[in-house]
């Protein structure tokens, strides 16, 4: 028995693919994905708030789509690609990713507790909907709770990042067609 199990628990071996790395974990089936990420894999960037799917602090990507890591048992995530907030910065230099820099530039956080969840929500959403309007972004961030910012700056940060990515793609496409 270790800190991941208690009396009455079975344990099982599961393999999780997190940020492109495969991890073997021996844990009880009742461990949620967020608890395994934080306690077993020590990836504490993902936060845990309400533990019933309301606050969104634990949002991660599963096969590219945003999900609540508190509403999923780790065992259910076997075979899926899991992406956490740790993936956003450059692993070699630690330099923040474009979405994170946009949050900084637009003051999209104050206390920062909800921020990993908002980042992963936006990351998954923009990957699927790169053309999203500010109105679309406003609607999607309603999924997560922030008690500091009033959301305005979060919406602006995500919109700025989406706009920058679009213009980058357009420039890339132009360069491609010139070659």
């Amino acid at each position: 028995m270790n800190d991941t199990t208690g009396p009455g628990d079975d344990v099982q071996l599961i393999t999780l693919d997190v940020n492109g790395t495969s991890h073997e974990v021996i844990t009880a089936p009742r461990r949620t994905l967020v608890d395994v990420l934080r306690h077993d894999l020590r990836l504490t960037g993902t936060h845990v708030g309400c533990e019933h799917g309301i606050c969104g602090a634990c949002t991660v990507l599963v096969d590219g789509l945003p999900v609540r890591a508190c509403l999923m048992f780790a065992a259910q995530a076997e075979g899926a690609r899991i992406t956490t907030v740790e993936s956003l910065a450059d692993p070699a230099t630690g330099e923040l990713g474009d979405l994170q820099r946009a949050f900084t530039a637009h003051h999209g956080l104050q206390c920062g507790f909800c921020t990993p969840g908002f980042l992963m929500l936006a990351q998954g959403f923009l990957a699927e909907r790169p053309e999203a309007t500010k109105e679309d972004i406003r609607e999607v961030v309603a999924a997560n709770l922030c008690r500091c910012t009033g959301y305005q700056t979060i919406v602006e940060a995500i919109d700025a990042c989406a706009t920058a990515r679009r213009s980058q793609r357009a420039t890339g496409a132009e360069e491609e067609s010139c070659n």
């Binding site: 208690g6 009396p7 009455g8 628990d9 079975d10 099982q12 009880a28 089936p29 009742r30 949620t32 608890d35 533990e51 019933h52 799917g53 969104g56 949002t59 599963v62 789509l65 945003p66 999900v67 609540r68 508190c70 509403l71 999923m72 048992f73 065992a75 259910q76 929500l121 998954g124 959403f125 699927e128 609607e139 999607v140 309603a142 999924a143």
Partner: protein
């Protein structure tokens, strides 16, 4: 909070899943997307001794119009898959189903939550349950005793209670015919919350004229209900406002933390009229 201990079983096929459920009897719960069940387990409102995970049964993840003309949606299809289904897979006249998805929770709930899970959970305000009742869906279920098709009108028994046996799982939901002039709308205090009242209509039209229609409400009883009194107004050529008024008079909604019965009647009037207008504008 953390859930109580349980044993986790991963089903490899439908037969295996139902055989295991039969063996474990009422100690087991089926898990698919888990968007209601895991929250209840974290609160220890549910403490199943065993979970049978059916998420690997990919044959239950499908969506399309089949030879019978009906739209067949596999039980493991997520709300998000339906929401983003291309028009040629969804089929003409089924847009009401796709458009209703935006009312279900939020994006990170819709990416995991499944059609079958929502229907089997049978929340009184669930959009899928309301659509099933409105559009005469059939629920295809499987148990060790074989397969059966259950009409939506005979499926929901009350709060979180359905016709499914403990060893039975949903395979798919079949919407038998297109509903080109149908709409679902609802009201909640915040976007993504459980609806206080939800309303859905399916109008029968002849050009610009309404010849009749079906009216259903969620959040006014222990399960979604059709409202024959409101449907009679549509069949008699009455206005949308009169139809909505008839619905508000016909039902006796509960008073609870979501709102009083009178407040719900007020919502019914607005929502049914709005749903009728949306349905006609399709």
């Amino acid at each position: 909070m953390k859930p109580a201990p349980f044993r986790y079983h991963r089903a490899r096929d439908v037969e295996g899943a139902t055989a295991l459920l039969a063996e474990l009897s009422d100690e087991a719960k089926v898990i698919a997307g888990g968007q209601s069940l895991v929250a209840m387990m974290n609160f220890r409102l549910a403490r199943p001794g065993h979970l049978v995970d059916i998420a690997g049964l990919r044959e239950l993840d499908h969506l399309g119009v089949e030879a019978d003309g009906g739209l067949h949606i596999g039980a493991l299809t997520t709300h998000h898959t339906v929401e983003t289904a291309p028009a040629d897979r969804l089929g003409a006249g089924y847009e009401v189903i796709r458009d209703a998805m935006r009312w279900i929770g939020h994006l990170p709930i819709r990416t995991r939550g499944t059609v079958g899970g929502s229907i089997a959970h049978a929340d009184a305000t669930a959009e899928w349950c309301l659509l099933a009742v409105l559009l005469d869906a059939e629920l295809v279920a499987h148990s060790p005793r074989g397969r059966r098709r259950i009409p939506a009108g005979e499926f929901f028994f009350g709060y979180y209670t359905t016709a499914l046996d403990p060893d039975e799982i949903l395979l798919e939901v079949v919407f038998p015919r297109p509903a080109p002039h149908a709409a679902l709308t609802e009201f909640a205090e915040r976007r993504g919350d459980f609806a206080i009242v939800s309303a859905a209509v399916d109008l029968a039209t002849d050009g610009e004229d309404v010849r009749g229609g079906r009216v259903a409400l969620g959040g006014v009883a222990a399960m979604p209900v059709r409202v024959p009194e409101a449907e009679a107004v549509l069949a008699a050529g009455g206005s949308f406002r009169d139809c909505a008024e008839a619905a508000a008079s016909a039902v006796d909604p509960p008073s609870d933390a979501g709102g009083s019965g009178d407040y719900r009647k007020h919502l019914i009037r607005d929502l049914i009229e709005r749903a009728c207008e949306e349905a006609m504008s399709r």
